[in-house]
Symmetry: C2
Subunit: 591 residues, 2 copies
């Protein structure tokens, strides 16, 4: 059975040594002293390791069931959900007004990684609720907020997001679910939604579905889509629960993974719904939820990669097989541990150097969210908006690959379910798909985000990298970081330049390179994270840290990334610069 240990020391290093959050001047950050965040992270790590992780493999094996109209979660989920609720974890970064603790997103994100790593399927119940609550917080009326938020912040009621229909996923303009206006201002919602994560279950008294639908008589296509609050159980004026609404589960899907999460077909049969936000502006309201969800999904890529890595590392240290070609390392044993073998190390270093930089990337991104929300910082808002598809697409593609590398360390034992390595890969696989498949993320990045505000945000990113390199080039030990980072950033700029020069005459020249661009952007971001972490570790060492091994290890891991991973930008650039011609050469009929 796998184990999970929350990387609290690493999170602390990022928060305090790299991001220096208490000095960042963001409202609320001054409370995040190292002792405080340490206490929160340790406690969260305990919940993750002792409550959520033990029901991860069993939840996978057992799955959810649907009988007689009732969806049941796997054994132990209900109890664990109670513990998470009682600990106040569900409202950690939600407003105090609604029962939350008003912590910044950066802390909520750090905790979220641990929970996701320990049990992704379980944590999704809470995650979807958080996203739905955020949408209500941003777009709801006061009455809607008062009705739903206190219960959702505490997860007494959970939430869902309903977008996909059988014939439309990405292209929501084709949606058929309709909303008939009623005399009392409510709507009757009818239609079928599929792939609804946490769609129904036995862990909450009510489920608040946020449903996209078209108001009858409204505009065609995506411009006629509105967002509705559709509770599973009607809420009376006094807040008590009334009769069942016209919402039912059609079936739960058999999936490749995240078996502990109930993925439902939801049928709406004249269900009463309440408009959230403005008529026909449903996509805007939904995107509050989607953007939060995309960052959360990017985090899942890291989370599964790190959980898988921890176990692969244990196995590589324990399993005796073969001898170190440079000299026996375990003379008293029948063989040396796997970790002596260079190719096993390569796989482990790939994982380690990814996970640590991805963690920094996500927490850095969360600080931008906090700046955007708490300081109305438009630049931070623009940058995180640009980076959202990179975080979602790159970290889930790479995170998935890392779970495969972790599984591979186990040989045949990785393929049988007994050791749990298969689950990491099967659970991680969904993150490349949901909340906008990664191809859609790449399209969003290249087709939309690059050009926002006249390209201001991407230019700001390049400037940030450039000035970091310039400011730190002279620091001893930094050249192993700033050199490769500069090269990679130039590759990325060259790709952007190629798009500008060739995308005008044929947009396919940009779009055919979108996936490569997303990946090279991700590599540059992780390269920047390694450079920032190296700077912090060099400083700590120069100041005589009491833990030199931690910082030496950090530097060695970073040097690995710069030498072995970051150069991938050149390959991506060469693909991009080959243009759309070879990609689009065939008629569809000739495939």
């Amino acid at each position: 059975m796998p184990r999970y240990t929350a990387p609290t020391k690493d999170t602390q290093f990022i928060l305090h040594d790299v991001l220096n959050i208490t000095e960042a001047g963001v409202p609320g950050y001054d409370e995040l002293e190292a002792d405080f965040t340490s206490a929160v992270l340790e406690e969260a790590g305990k919940i993750a390791g002792e409550v959520l992780q033990p029901i991860n493999a069993t939840g996978d094996a057992e799955g959810c069931t649907f009988e007689n109209g009732v969806v049941r979660t796997p054994t132990g989920f209900k109890d664990a959900f109670e513990q998470v609720k009682e600990g106040g974890w569900t409202g950690l970064d939600m407003p105090e007004q609604y029962g939350g603790q008003n912590m910044p997103a950066v802390l909520g994100t750090a905790v979220g990684e641990y929970f996701s790593a320990a049990n992704q399927a379980f944590t999704m119940y809470q995650g979807l609720t958080h996203g739905a609550a955020s949408a209500i917080l941003a777009h709801g009326s006061d009455q809607q907020k008062d009705t739903y938020l206190p219960k959702m912040v505490s997860c007494e009621w959970t939430g869902t997001m309903n977008l996909t229909e059988p014939h439309c996923g990405t292209d929501l303009g084709m949606m058929r679910t309709k909303a008939e206006p009623q005399a009392d201002g409510s709507y009757k919602i009818s239609g079928q939604k599929i792939f609804i994560s946490s769609g129904d279950h036995d862990m909450a008294d009510n489920i608040i579905h946020l449903v996209l639908a078209k108001i009858v008589g409204g505009p065609e296509g995506i411009k006629g889509v509105s967002l509705f609050i559709v509770p599973k159980v009607h809420v009376n004026e006094d807040g008590s629960l009334g009769a069942r609404n016209g919402v039912s589960v059609g079936k739960i899907e058999e999936k490749m993974g995240i078996h502990g999460n109930s993925t439902c077909v939801m049928n709406y049969d004249e269900a009463t719904g309440y408009l959230l936000g403005e008529e026909h502006k449903g996509m805007r309201a939904m995107f509050t939820m989607m953007n939060e969800a995309r960052l959360g999904v990017g985090m899942q890529g890291l989370a599964q990669a790190d959980a898988a890595y921890q176990n692969a590392l244990d196995y590589a240290k324990d399993r005796l097989q073969g001898r170190d070609v440079t000299g026996v390392k375990n003379p008293d044993g029948p063989a040396d541990p796997l970790i002596v073998h260079p190719d096993v190390r390569r796989a482990l270093m790939d994982q380690k150097s990814f996970a640590e930089a991805a963690r920094a990337f996500i927490l850095w991104g969360a600080t931008m969210l906090d700046k955007a929300h708490r300081q109305s910082d438009k630049d931070a808002d623009g940058l995180i908006s640009l980076l959202t598809p990179v975080i979602k697409g790159f970290l889930t593609d790479q995170g998935y690959d890392m779970t495969i590398k972790a599984q591979q360390v186990y040989g045949g034992h990785g393929y049988i379910e007994e050791w749990g390595m298969s689950q990491f890969t099967r659970d991680a696989r969904i993150a490349m798909i949901y909340e906008g498949a990664n191809g859609v993320q790449a399209l969003d990045l290249v087709g939309r985000k690059l050009a926002v505000d006249g390209g201001k945000h991407v230019m700001a990113f390049f400037e940030l990298v450039k000035s970091f390199c310039k400011d730190n080039a002279e620091v001893e030990g930094m050249d192993a970081f700033t050199g490769p980072l500069k090269t990679a950033s130039k590759d990325l700029q060259a790709a952007g330049m190629y798009f500008m020069q060739n995308g005008m005459k044929n947009p396919n020249n940009a779009l055919a390179g979108s996936n490569d661009f997303m990946h090279m952007f991700g590599h540059v971001c992780l390269g920047l994270m390694w450079a920032m972490m190296a700077k912090a570790s060099l400083k700590a060492l120069a100041e005589g840290t009491s833990d030199p091994e931690f910082h030496e290890t950090k530097l060695a891991t970073g040097r690995y990334y710069m030498a072995r991973q970051l150069p991938a930008t050149a390959l991506h650039l060469s693909r991009i610069q080959s243009g759309a011609d070879t990609v689009m050469a065939l008629d569809a009929a000739n495939f």
Copy 2:
């Protein structure tokens, strides 16, 4: 439900236009006229598409069962196995003396791809039998051959290979299964073997286990390992079946995929075994089987990739979602098909350009096997021996990635089991692990095969690429192929040079680059295949072929590979040239 259509036209192109097999001068190839191979391939394609494919998804869902000591295969497997046997497919490339049809390996390989693509779990029963029969053919006494081969060639009896034990996989020197010599020349075999594919089932009267064990009192470690024939049921002198041998199933494993194949824990409790080949030379005998199996596993990488690709292509043509940014393609429909989108095309072209070149690579490899076996061609034997780890490791790593890309085309529908795309990935995953995990393949390539016969075979490979490029550089249209191929081949040579110059002082400098080397070698091989295919298609077009679209498509697909995939060699080279330092920098305790 997925479909599978055997790519007979493509196989024919490779056999006759690219490899020109009937003119190759290999004994038996003169019989392989295009009409004949076409008839065989069409018939094999029918079995694959109509008999094996329909029980692929059901076999995955149902799996094998083990109750009261009896292993049962999924519904329909037994009937399908009868049909495959009746068609004579199991002995296609086995000697006539034992009931086979004596066809060359190149034809057996072509057929094997179809069967594997249609149903990998099912085809393994036959594949393991073929491998075990080959080992008996190569190393058995006349009496052993007469006893076992006729039944195994017909698959009345099936075979297995038993290497792994709970504490040892790659490092077989640690094996504990022992063989006690008996007065009658037989041995009593005792021990436990795990991960035994097709270990027990209900489709054959007997199962012939080939089991590695240590003869009591023999040398320590790998030098004391011998190979034994251990039948499930004793065979009487007259060939009839007697009592059960001391072999039993401990359990069947719960796996990530290939659920239709019974992966067994096998317990040997003083089972009667017969030495196959020489005492203490078990590894040599087993490698006859392993090498054949490794080529077969490489083929599985291609097979799953192609099956997944065919379905992804169908979906990309059928599924309407979004609009072509360069102009609406399906004005009468609510949206354009997915295939109009550049990033979807990129994914499809990756798959198509991989599958077609991988097919050529495997069939080219099979011609080397035929030359080695039928002409005692030492050069061909040396080259296929060098390329075996590349075929196994590169094609299964890449093949797996392609199934992931195919699954991704489906969005959320790829993640639910209903559409079958999950199964392709789960089944393909094992191929990176069994018959020597891909890290072991890379080690075999760099640590052993490169240096065989003083590096003669790798030099011959470089020479082959060089002279092909030289001979064809002037052909119009070939420069798009020979140019990139030359560059990639130079990268590969530079990597080899780096190993020579730096591996002597520290072998880790070579081994830390072994995975990258295997991959760049694979890319150069596929680049060579594309160049050879381009040459054949240019020739066909110049000669006024009746099917210009096929050849134009072939050229366009090849140009995609050369522009978008082959340049990966530069990244692999840069990783290799970064050496072992960053890979090996950490103490194990500091990970």
